[in-house]
């Protein structure tokens, strides 16, 4: 067991194999060696850590970087499924089921928590962070492209295109819009 201390000073007793999903913690443990000292996580709150380390529902092996971002990868996965690396076929199939269940739960997490989880997973260097479909939480747009206005609202982004620039970009990709 490893003792973790979050930014809000809560202590977590966590299984070693679970915390070692985090490359950050794994490296820390290797540096420190066997020790009862708590590991401080000043950038992670207790509510987020619970989400990230939940052994039953948390994602485990999904590489957010995906195969196209990882040049070392040789597996081919359909982009509609999360890319899974370093696993046997059987395991991959099992995981895929686990993931879709987790995916469902993940989508029900509110939007702010989603951003916090992403940040925490980035800080902890957990490959298993899942952000697939996270923009589809309303699942209203499963069939086609979500309008850019909605994305801007979600991310609090200001449209900095002129109408002419927008029209030019649209021209190239209009063929792929819903029809």
């Amino acid at each position: 067991m490893v003792l973790l201390v979050t930014s809000d000073n809560e202590q977590f007793q966590t299984e070693k194999d679970i915390v070692e999903r985090s490359v950050l913690i794994k490296n820390m443990l290797e540096d420190v060696g066997e020790s009862d000292q708590p590991i401080p996580l000043p950038n992670v709150s207790s509510s987020v850590l619970k989400k990230v380390t939940q052994p039953s529902t948390g994602p485990t092996e999904i590489d957010v970087r995906g195969r196209y971002l990882s040049t070392a990868s040789t597996t081919v996965e359909s982009p509609s499924r999360p890319p899974i690396l370093e696993q046997s076929q059987d395991e991959t199939r099992k995981r895929t089921t686990d993931i879709s269940e987790w995916d469902q739960k993940f989508i029900t997490v509110d939007q702010e928590m989603l951003f916090e989880i992403i940040l925490a997973a980035n800080y902890l260097d957990i490959k298993s962070l899942l952000c697939r479909r996270w923009l589809q939480d309303g699942s209203q747009h499963d069939q086609g492209a979500r309008p850019p206005e909605e994305i801007r609202k979600l991310f609090n982004i200001v449209n900095d295109f002129t109408p002419e620039e927008e029209a030019q970009i649209k021209k190239e990709n209009e063929w792929a819009e819903d029809r």
Partner: protein
């Protein structure tokens, strides 16, 4: 950290945004992401995301290539699997099937020269060579000819479409199909992909269904006249039964 700060920290970290975008459905990444703002437009041009979008090739791998799902959806005759014993007149590619492609009723967005489907790779990793095999059924039997196109590497949809289209747009009954490498490189040393074409040498002229200019891209490049240099006639059965 407050919720808003978490969001802003996420969106101002390009590495994180890139990860998020890489997991969007392909259509969202292609159509919506570049329209959000200039930062997102620039992000969609990173090598990693260009690979996700089938614009830049991924490194060769030992597994079977993955067809471009967006192109497969909108250009079905080019991506339909064909069984070995398919009758030549039931091949998926024909003037009729081209005319009934999902976009055929509003071809303007497809026809314009800058439409991005033309730059898209047909599969990842992309085919680097293409065999064009033509079989003609005439009164004196079947004749075949074939050629390897090497100047199409890596194969993008614009080239495949431009090369295949004239074969379907003929005065005779003509059909085509695309035979995809199924991953076992050993069994097919000839080409990564084969465009198989059949037609009849008919005594009756003008039987075929012609395609009007709506189906030709403004950037159409006639490969048939420019680059297809046929090899010798080959009478062995190469790719389909002549039943």
């Amino acid at each position: 950290m407050s919720p808003t700060r978490a969001r802003d920290a996420t969106t101002s970290t390009p590495e994180l945004l890139e990860l998020i975008l890489a997991h969007l459905p392909m259509r969202d990444l292609l159509v919506t992401a570049p329209l959000v703002c200039k930062t997102w437009q620039a992000l969609a041009l990173t090598p990693a995301l260009q690979r996700v979008l089938f614009f830049e090739p991924v490194p060769l791998s030992s597994s079977a290539p993955m067809q471009n799902p967006l192109l497969a959806e909108l250009f079905p005759p080019f991506f339909t699997a064909v069984a070995q014993d398919t009758h030549w007149a039931r091949l998926p590619g024909s003037a009729r099937s081209i005319k009934s492609m999902p976009w055929s009723k509003s071809p303007a967005a497809f026809k314009r020269a800058e439409a991005s489907w033309r730059r898209m790779l047909v599969a990842q990793p992309p085919p680097l060579t293409m065999i064009v095999a033509e079989k003609c059924y005439g009164q004196s039997g079947a004749a075949e000819r074939r050629t390897a196109l090497t100047d199409i590497s890596p194969l993008r949809m614009g080239s495949l479409y431009d090369i295949a289209l004239p074969f379907a747009d003929a005065d005779t009954d003509s059909f085509f199909c695309v035979l995809w490498r199924d991953g076992d490189v050993e069994t097919d040393s000839e080409g990564d992909i084969t465009l198989a074409v059949t037609y009849t040498e008919s005594t009756r002229q003008r039987r075929g269904l012609r395609l009007d200019e709506r189906f030709y891209s403004d950037a159409f490049r006639d490969h048939a006249n420019l680059e297809i240099a046929w090899g010798e006639m080959d009478h062995t059965s190469l790719w389909l039964n002549a039943n």
